[in-house]
Amino acid sequence: MDSVFSHTIAAILTIGIISFLYKDNPLYKFCESLFIGVSAGYWFVQQYYANLLPKLFDNLGITKLVGAENAPEGALQALFLEGRLDDNLLYLIAGVLGVMMLLRLSPKIGWIARWPLAFTVGSSAGLYFITYFQSNAMSQLEHTILPLNSFNNLVLIVGTVTGIIYFYFSKEHKGVFGGAAKVGIYFLMITFGASFGYTVMSRMSLLIGRIDFLFGTWLGLVK
């Protein structure tokens, strides 16, 4: 009985979302609002249990401090009770940055929120620089330097070289250089075409999944 009820609800919501294909309508609006509201709430709870609670509150010992049963002792207990500097004390910096971010709610000291933002953007750009350089430059380079002894290798080398030429911004695409860039964009478009077809097929399988749910699981018309 429970499954019939839940399947019916899921089917109505599915039809509501698909009804957007006809036009915007009250059922779609209801489904959209429900989806956004439920998912926003879900993400808030998920963020709390995946990040705030284990990484900040538990590691610092705030959970223990507020008297939660079975909560582990954290860095604050280590510091004040044992006089020991625990590595987890570093999470305090993240906590302070988080609080600084919330200060933007106050118009007078809202500017403080720029500091944690600058820290996040700067540190992540720096960290990703090496990762991207290794995967997108060094590794690509290693696997493009191939002997010209097969058609596959030729296509790979010409495609990569002309592709790089297309993404060279310091010279206008004219003459031989422009011709090479044009070959590069042809390679890109052929790749996009193949990727388009592949992805459309995978989307069809998603649609088939929903149709199967409606006519099979819910209505029982397809066995």
Binding site: A40, M138, E142, F169, H173
Partner: protein
């Protein structure tokens, strides 16, 4: 006479029996040896700090036991015994399968000297090796297997610094026209004339994603134009941090345009982190608000086509930009202009004319020239079988 015949028959019988059963007897004797004799111990055990790591790891190598053979099904493998040098008690710390000649102790404490014995195990029997010379783990400052990455980063980094200085000194740096960006003014102007909104969708990734950062920089230029034209801008976002960054950027753009009063914080609002919840929400906004222009600039996933098709359906001018290879085909198909891959990053420099961004773009172009030369030289050298040039770019 009869007795002699009988004797001969007994001799033959004994001989035949010996011939028939001797292999079995030999095998039984060997089997008895295998099950009662411990395996030969491993030799040449050495331990040393695992190179190029963050510490807490010691590499142990040995020469395998002569009894470690594929046809010996009883041979079970090796146990790694560890003791603190010099007088600690040996305790098992890891296992290694038969045939192995190397393993890692990843539970070592940095700065503590350890010694190791390898126990070769066959059935219930075992034999221990001599103890290895002491070794201790420590972390390394440099990963020597990534010197090539360091050189590459230095080349690009120095080129970027050089061009930033050139840009700062007032020298004009040339960047070719990027088709999608030429249309930004036209797209904002069209929305102003029609009296409709401009939507800016900064992708669904958080602010730490470089594409989102590039998208937010482009937003700065779009917002300045919007402020100058007195148009209306709406930015639904899927990440709280992106919302904060967008608000800061748009506020600054309005300030720079001399229209701080026109800035509306509520126009930049959060919907949900959930990918398709966000897509459903933006789709709803698009069909209800009917914006004249939609910008998609940032990192997108499966929602790209859903958004772009809805925008196309209401007849909006759409300018997309992403470096997600799987989503680019959809934007190319459904949008009027698409910034492909690195064009998204170049666009931020092109629009802002900021010396740091321009210098960065030019520096990266130097990197591309180096890569092109490396490919061409490498292919020629490799084709003639002179040298495997590719190995110079292998990252460990």
């Amino acid at each position: 006479m009869a007795t002699g015949k009988l004797r001969n028959q007994k001799k033959y019988f004994t001989l035949i029996c010996l011939l028939l059963f001797s292999p079995t007897l030999i095998a039984q004797t060997e089997s008895a040896d295998i099950t009662t004799t411990p395996p030969a111990p491993v030799t040449e055990v050495v331990a040393f700090d695992t190179p190029n790591d963050a510490g807490s790891s010691i590499t142990i190598r040995w020469k395998k036991s002569p009894d470690d053979r594929p046809d010996d099904s009883l041979f079970a493998g090796y146990k790694i015994l560890r003791a603190i040098y010099p007088r600690g008690e040996f305790q098992q710390t890891a296992d290694a399968p038969a045939g192995a000649e190397e393993t890692f102790d990843n539970e070592a404490r940095d700065g503590v000297e350890y010694t190791y014995r390898i126990r070769a195990v066959r059935g219930d029997l075992y034999s221990d090796s001599e103890a290895s010379p002491p070794a201790q783990s420590k972390q390394q400052w440099f990963h020597t297997g990534r010197i090539n990455t360091l050189i590459g980063c230095l080349i690009i980094g120095l080129a970027i610094l050089f061009f930033i200085n050139r840009a700062k000194s007032g020298k004009k740096l040339y960047i070719r026209k990027i088709a999608g960006l030429e249309a930004v003014d036209e797209a904002v102007g069209r929305a102003t004339e029609m009296g409709r909104k401009i939507f800016f969708i900064p992708g669904i990734q958080d602010i730490y994603n470089l594409q989102t950062i590039a998208g937010v920089i482009i937003l700065g230029r779009v917002a300045k134009l919007v402020a100058e034209y007195d148009a209306q801008l709406e930015i639904p976002v899927s990440r709280s941090m992106v919302m904060v960054a967008c608000r800061e950027t748009v506020k600054e753009a309005y300030l720079n345009a001399g229209r701080p009063d026109a800035y509306k914080e509520d126009a930049i609002h959060y919907l949900t982190d959930e990918q398709f919840g966000y897509a459903a929400g933006v789709d709803g906004l698009i069909v209800r608000e009917k914006p004249a222009t939609i910008f998609y600039q940032g990192a997108f996933f499966a929602e790209s086509l859903i958004l772009a098709e809805t925008g196309n359906y209401i007849g909006a001018i759409q300018i997309a930009g992403t470096a997600m290879p799987a989503q680019l085909p959809f934007f190319v198909a459904a949008c009027d202009y698409t910034l492909i891959g690195e064009e998204l990053f170049a666009a931020s420099a092109y629009l802002s004319k900021e010396p740091k961004l321009l210098g960065s773009l030019k520096g990266q172009d130097v990197g591309k020239v180096v890569i092109l030369l490396a490919i061409l030289i490498g292919v020629i050298v490799h084709s003639f079988g002179l040298f495997n040039f590719a190995q110079l770019f292998r990252v460990q």
